[in-house]
Symmetry: C2
Subunit: 419 residues, 2 copies
């Protein structure tokens, strides 16, 4: 019989007892942030559960990891603590367990309606890295920016290419995004122009949240990399294509990305995603030994992007993709990141890069969907080449189980005009 | 008459009363880190000066900014607090002021011999950005990596190009650097190889330490940018040229740099550098209005790199350059960084990029000095194309005043073999 909570969870909910994603929230505008897990339409306040002494396993007993304003301390504790917390919480929330179910006072203190809370960034992000792991995205971008002859650079099939992103401008879902200003370049020998970006785009990504991490100089083996990934979030790596195209040679993206990156508030753990594991694509050429893993896993996570233009009531679905479309796995990304000795720290974010699929309606950004603006999308009676002021972009991610979902909720942001 | 301290300062010292650079140190191996300033052969413990109530101006009175394990809180307070601290400390240390001079107990507590302390990173670095601001370096790298036809990309003269670096692997001077392993690519269609980097290099840089910073979405005007720069350090942006050359297309440097970046422990303030201000180079084409500044400043800071091979007694000077060789100013770099709304935070690091001059003996890295290994350097009877295990690399930076120096001390690191 399927696991069931004493809390009513609608069958469409992203947050049944099988999920239990972690976030950080404020129950009141002036309260201190504290960790919580989502259950149905509620947030379970983990600081209250800890204070009640209900985390009583060997790793978490007497720990103050849930009395912190971020999840970093919990993430640093590693998989034994994560497994213990999940077991404790699944038991505590199950329909057959009286401890919380029958304690009105504790329920009152610890279960907060989700629509009353303010979610904040779940971790202090030391560094944010962004990969480029979808072959379809690499091929399309290469064709648009470089040309159709050799759209994918020769290194791409040998290593998971990545760049360092900007950690300071990672914001939580719901934060408005101000249209960036910057330099663009029309063509040929003309001088650059300056102004609000004319090619503002979303990028449909997910990001891994790093667990314990490693010391400088000590790489993480690809077959142990999964123990360093706590879970996943949705991520919108907003991109100004005109700024990016002009600045990125030879050192890569900079101001075209660093004005804002939005993450969803709930970190879905690898443990919750495990039932949705899927084979990773066959890699040809075979990766070098340090990237060759015994078990190579993707996850079957359905992804969707909606745009709601200002003043309209309804959102319009502009693409549907799936996490499975990635060529390089999360564990390969993490192992590659550390092979030179680079240290990862708890709470670091590893973005996948835009997750485009092979079909026209599974492309992960407007650059690809409109082919750099040449083929505008039709959108509820209007059209879009790139994002306009007032557009609200929402990502949704969800795994469909047998009678339940393991979902990510939404990752959303609205475009405000340039200053 | 020149300002003079009651503390004996040798005329060759980098740290006379005119300098007073800030760092963070531990007086004993197990003490908590605390801020200090360098004076001659001593470190003045600012936590003791604060506890003695001697910071009595309007900004610092009752502040706990010097009772912290990093300088971030002091940096966030901005130029009024920095000016006040400098005035207080110059008075307190001057030969004519009895407060500290004649208080044996306080001298005993607050003045620690520099050779007894352990220096640690002076700030918690939220983000580290690396620019590419020397034209000579850009031309040489472009010639080596891309070819002599168009060595400098057309965007270079319009904007200070930069990329996000890795904050986690920034280490303090004296930390050993482990040779990174990674992929390289021999030539043409051959497959990549994997192993210890065969082209390990230093990069002679300096870095600005950010002060108050800005909110997301609110750019800093180029003419106000100096108020957001607390001071400068020496920086060695160690680079694995073989890893870098294979990985950097199309998203820029990643593992070729992220295995370690060394900074010097003492932040020399812009106030101390002001007597050494020098005209910045004329910029042609004229920069766009957001980069056009009323006063365009460089600083006359003599820079030198020494290599000491393992087992040898003496170091060998391999290059001499000067901070003046930068094309883009620090204030232009900072203004450009925020023009898209990107937020800077106190303690962020803005590297200048390799500071190469126009002459063969003023080039800032081995890639340029040996022309990618083709013309090995002679070094005390041995030769170097790139760094070998055991090599110790030391940077020195110093401004020569009238009868005194304003120096940076050294920035050093030794290469250990790959694991």
């Amino acid at each position: 019989m399927a696991l069931k909570s004493f809390i009513q969870v609608h069958h469409d909910s992203h947050f049944p007892i099988q999920n239990l994603p972690y976030g950080v929230f404020k129950p009141q505008p002036h309260s201190l942030p504290r960790p919580g897990v989502a259950i149905g339409d509620y947030v379970l306040d983990l600081s209250e559960i800890a204070k009640a002494g209900l985390f009583n396993g060997p790793s978490l007993n007497n720990s103050d990891c849930f009395l912190q304003p971020t999840l970093n301390k919990f993430l640093a504790m590693g998989r034994p603590a994560w497994k213990e917390a999940r077991a404790t919480l699944q038991k505590l929330l199950s329909s057959s367990e009286p401890t919380l179910r029958d304690n009105a006072n504790l329920r009152q203190k610890s279960l907060v309606p989700m629509n009353k809370v303010e979610m904040v960034l779940p971790t202090a992000i030391g560094d944010y890295t962004d990969f480029f792991a979808s072959m379809h995205h690499a091929r399309n971008c290469g064709t648009i920016f470089v040309g159709p002859q050799k759209p994918i650079p020769p290194n791409w099939f040998h290593l998971p290419i990545a760049y360092h992103g900007r950690a300071s401008s990672v914001v939580i879902s719901g934060t408005d995004i101000i249209r960036p200003r910057g330099q663009g370049h029309p063509k040929g020998n003309s001088p650059p122009y300056f102004g609000p970006s004319q090619k503002l785009d979303f990028e449909l990504e997910m990001a891994a949240v790093v667990g314990p991490g490693n010391e400088l100089g000590k790489p993480i083996d690809v077959n142990e990399a999964a123990d360093h990934i706590f879970g996943l979030v949705l991520m919108n790596d907003w991109s100004a294509r005109d700024i990016q195209a002009w600045e990125y040679i030879p050192l890569g993206p900079f101001l075209g990305k660093s004005f804002g990156t939005t993450v969803s508030p709930w970190i879905v753990t690898l443990d919750a995603l495990e039932p949705f594991a899927a084979d990773a694509p066959k890699q040809d050429p075979k990766p070098l030994p340090y990237l060759a893993e015994k078990i190579s896993k993707n996850y079957d996570i359905a992804l969707e992007v909606q745009i709601k233009p200002t003043g309209q009531k309804d959102s319009c679905v502009v693409t549907k993709s799936n996490f499975k479309n990635l060529y390089w796995t999360l564990t390969q990304q993490l192992a590659h990141h550390t092979i030179n000795g680079c240290n990862l720290r708890p709470g670091d974010l590893l973005g996948t890069g835009t997750i485009s699929g092979p079909e026209q309606d599974s492309l992960g950004c407007l650059l690809e969907l409109t082919w750099n603006g040449q083929k505008p999308l039709s959108l509820n009676g209007t059209t879009r080449s790139f994002l306009e002021d007032g557009d609200e972009v929402t990502f949704i991610g969800c795994c469909k189980g047998d009678g339940y979902n393991v979902g990510f909720g939404t990752c959303t942001g609205k475009i405000l005009p340039a200053p």
